[in-house]
């Protein structure tokens, strides 16, 4: 990063306020390609390595700033995602993100795209990949258009993620 002092919770800044929604087409297609070519293990490894490396500026801020830095990131992140409807609440030593309208699922459905059934798992693998490196934990419940993601400042005592609680996206 060239400028770690950038304003807001996002480490990467653009000149426009929102991302281009058609990029969700590419994210979905990337997941399909990786699962077909490298299997689910390869896809999960891709997400974990992305969390570790590309998102290092994010989880470094979380590690330094604690759970309030997580809340700040989540608010700024979803404010820049086109079509997202979310709420972020700090509850004790945790942050609860309620995704009322997932911008990716919404856009993909509106354009009749075949969504990778495991699409919503990527939020867990990427989110937990960042949280664990910040000394935290993340768990996810729901999916296929809306979900709840909880970030815990202290991972001790947090139950393992139940993958059955992450909904698959139906065709």
């Amino acid at each position: 990063m060239s400028d770690p002092g950038k304003v807001g919770g996002l480490p990467y800044q653009d000149t426009k306020p929102y991302g281009a929604a058609d990029f969700y087409f590419a994210i979905n297609a990337t997941f399909r390609f990786l699962i077909q070519r490298l299997g689910h293990e390869g896809w999960r490894r891709y997400l974990d390595e992305m969390a570790a490396n590309y998102y290092r500026p994010v989880w470094t801020r979380w590690k330094q700033g604690g759970i309030s830095a997580v809340a700040s990131y989540l608010r700024d992140f979803f404010a820049a995602e086109p079509g997202a409807e979310t709420t972020v609440q700090a509850i004790g030593d945790s942050v609860v993100l309620d995704v009322h309208v997932c911008p990716a699922i919404k856009h993909l459905r509106e354009h009749g795209r075949e969504i990778v059934p495991e699409f919503c798992q990527h939020c867990y693998f990427q989110g937990e990949g960042m949280a664990s490196r910040a000394g935290m934990a993340m768990r996810l419940e729901g999916g296929a258009g809306s979900c709840r993601q909880t970030f815990y400042a202290d991972p001790v005592g947090v139950p393992e993620q139940d993958m059955a609680k992450i909904r698959r996206v139906s065709a």
Binding site: M1, S2, D3, L10, P11, Y12, Q13, D14, T15, K16, Y18, G19, A20, A21, D22, F23, Y24, F25, A26, I27, N28, A29, T30, R32, F33, R37, L38, G42, Y46, E49, M50, N53, Y54, F77, A80, E81, P82, C102, P103, A104, H111, H122, C123, Q126, G127
Partner: protein, 182 residues
Amino acid sequence: MIGAYDFCGHYEWTFAWLEREGGLELVRDYWKEAISVDSQRHARDLIVPQGIAGMQKYWQHTLEEESAEFAFTSDKETFRIDMHDCPSKGFLLRNDLEQYCDYCDHCIGWIGPMIQDAGFVIDHEHNHLGKCWWEFRAKENTAAPSESGTFAGDRDVRLADDWNQGQKDRFKRSVSDEEKVN
């Protein structure tokens, strides 16, 4: 969640990851299969049946959505794009992100196979600093690409003061990133 706002950042990171995983062959397969055929099917649906009219519709929508600075010039034979400020490469430059050896190759990497299916070829040049130009002609049309300013007038990116600042890559009558001539 992996987002749209910083898409170009993790997209570029993905090229480098794929290259480590399966070499340049896997990167090229990704551009062709995942991006050209799957992700960008809305581009194919316009350009393959409609040719130049479809190019105008597709790039008008997508470049406006991405807040690019660009100009189109076209006649019955040629569709030309002059990119004065690429939002994708610009994002990487502004945020000092560079994991893959040549990010700009991804454009012809996915556009090339689509243009080939539409029966066109590409003359293209980019300077790795967010400026490039494209001319699309039917493959039967053997005309050379335009000289600076002769087709696009003062909108021609090659007339920009900083056009020659970057390292330029050139493609002639190409449909693949493998056909770089310099």
